[in-house]
Symmetry: C2
Subunit: 347 residues, 2 copies
């Protein structure tokens, strides 16, 4: 049994830099992904088109057949003029991190109003706004905001931005709650949501004491996971894959305090997802979720592809290795040592 | 400034066995605790009065001035006859672990009905029933029960047991939710709750990626923490200290998957609590919470004490060490490296 998937996309990936970039970038094709939307949260973050393009060249050298869509990190240094310049240079979007909610987000946003001129320019230039949709916990709201409701509490901000900039294409990245799915559905067609592979599997019980399952936003309740699976398998063009694959060296996961947040799924991205769709009896909507919906939203054409290669899923055991790399620097993939039902074939 | 506390009690402690027992038992007096109610979840668990008394002798040798109250582990091997024998031998209570919810609970209880004859004998013999109040997650309820609602979902079982055995003294151990506090208040005077030191500090945000703050039951929402602080500082005789201090070697905390659950607070038990009461402006109710309420519930008289020594809190900086023991076997105390406002003086 096999399934033709065309050129699947992963619209939220962390490829890091240096040794980690060298380790994980070559696993993109292994995971069945043809198009990657690359996150800009390096240290320092990517805030200029020049930096984005230089980074793209590095990635391209490591995975020549992958199509890399680049982003910049929303920061006070970005002007409307830079937005137009970015669009001209081929940058696809700008990622907005609320200050302090995830890896390298200390340069992030505390208030959105200052960025309205930038959003307006993005709307005109056709750049996508990628929102990390969590309300940051501050001294003022610490008696109410937690990792469990930070996403739901952000949704009014999503709706407010959408109503102010109705033509701005907005992605609520890595939706983790039924409330987020509902909010995305309630907005117009310019607002969509990405869903990761691991949030189709995990709930709150899975990350306590298990740093490898700890990510931001955290996995939530069983009914939230159900809503994510239903949205992903629905075929609805508003939802598509963005794995938020986030590699960290084992030394930063194996910590009694302050273990890094992030799940590494790049190496088996499409097979992880296919496994869930198969269990749901929804393999017929897999291509919509992993290939078609994202491509349409990003207005990405196959002619812009780095390669003509297509992906076919074969129903054949696919073992997930214990690690990529070795020792303290190793990256442990999600479900390390387990076996998935689907393997990747490029043709 | 100083506060006379008499002989404070900690009515829920894990002292382990072997090297770990040798390491942590001597820290009981350092933490300002005179009376300890000792948990029976050794491996194998304590299910006979003989084992309980042999364990007590080991502990007594390590901390000669501490009064140890002993418990047994509720298991199918415990008969009503053994309950009466246990009471005669000086065992104070029986701890009930639902199967599979915490450290060494694989011998625990799946259904309570089979134990009604034992509960009836305990009621008659005056033994305390210590409940780990969490509804275990099973295949049947996996779409609903999580670490977040497992305690609340257990509360109907608490009320049911209380109505069947109204004279049985029941402790809902380590309450972590506003709902648990409310349920304890709604029951008659034979039902009380213990509250740990660390649940006066922690919420759900604190344990993701921080194995040292990961325990069962997990810390919950800010409003739950508020309810615990309010109950503890209220002076209400239904609530008293049971730290659930649970040492684990660092090697079992520093794991990327399967880090052990438990927070070690034995060494600074009373100062941790005093710090919170001071911040609340409630130092006047501290003695009720740490000394009087527990002693009354356990019908424990100072004449039965191992020692006449009393505890005085002095307002003087008390540094928490980075660890007890060294290397992989070290135990890291809660708030390691921080300083508390209160020090212990025995007189």
């Amino acid at each position: 049994m096999s399934i033709e998937l065309g050129q699947p996309g992963d619209y939220h990936v962390h490829l890091r830099d240096g040794d980690m970039m060298n380790l994980v970038t070559p696993t993109i094709p292994t995971g069945g992904v043809s198009v990657c939307y690359v996150m800009p949260n390096l240290n320092p973050p990517i805030v200029t088109p020049k930096h984005a393009l230089a980074y793209k060249a590095e990635l391209q050298a490591l995975s020549p057949t992958t199509t890399f869509l680049m982003s910049m990190y929303l920061s006070p240094s970005i002007t409307p003029e830079m937005v137009f310049e970015a669009a001209k240079s081929g940058v696809s979007g700008i990622k907005c991190y609320p200050a302090g909610v995830t890896t390298n987000s200390e340069h992030g946003v505390s208030s959105y109003e200052a960025f309205y001129p930038v959003f307006s320019a993005m709307e005109e230039a056709g750049l996508v706004l990628n929102l990390h949709g969590e309300c940051p916990c501050t001294a003022a709201n610490a008696d109410y905001i937690t990792v469990l409701n930070a996403e739901e509490e952000f949704l009014p901000t999503l709706k407010d931005l959408h109503s102010r900039f109705p033509k701005l294409r907005i992605i609520l990245e890595h939706c983790t709650t039924a409330a987020a799915v509902q909010a995305v559905r309630e907005c117009g067609p310019t607002v969509v949501g990405t869903i990761t592979a691991h949030h189709l599997y995990l709930i709150v019980d899975n990350w306590g004491g298990n740093a490898l399952h700890f990510c931001k936003p955290v996995a939530k309740w069983p009914h939230d996971r159900r809503a994510l699976i239903d949205a992903a398998t629905s075929g609805d063009a508003k939802f598509f894959l963005g794995t938020d694959s986030a590699p960290h060296p084992l030394k930063n996961k194996r910590k009694a305090m302050g273990a890094a947040a992030g799940v590494f799924t790049q190496s088996h991205a499409i097979p992880y997802v296919a496994q869930v769709f198969e269990a749901e009896g929804k393999l017929d909507t897999l291509k919509a979720f992993v290939t078609d919906n994202g491509r349409k939203f990003y207005n990405w054409n196959q002619e812009l592809s780095q390669s003509n290669k297509q992906v076919r899923l074969i129903r054949k055991a696919n073992s997930i290795p214990a690690s990529f790399g070795e020792g303290d620097e190793a990256v442990i993939p999600f479900k390390a040592g387990e076996s998935l039902n689907w393997s990747i074939e490029w043709y």
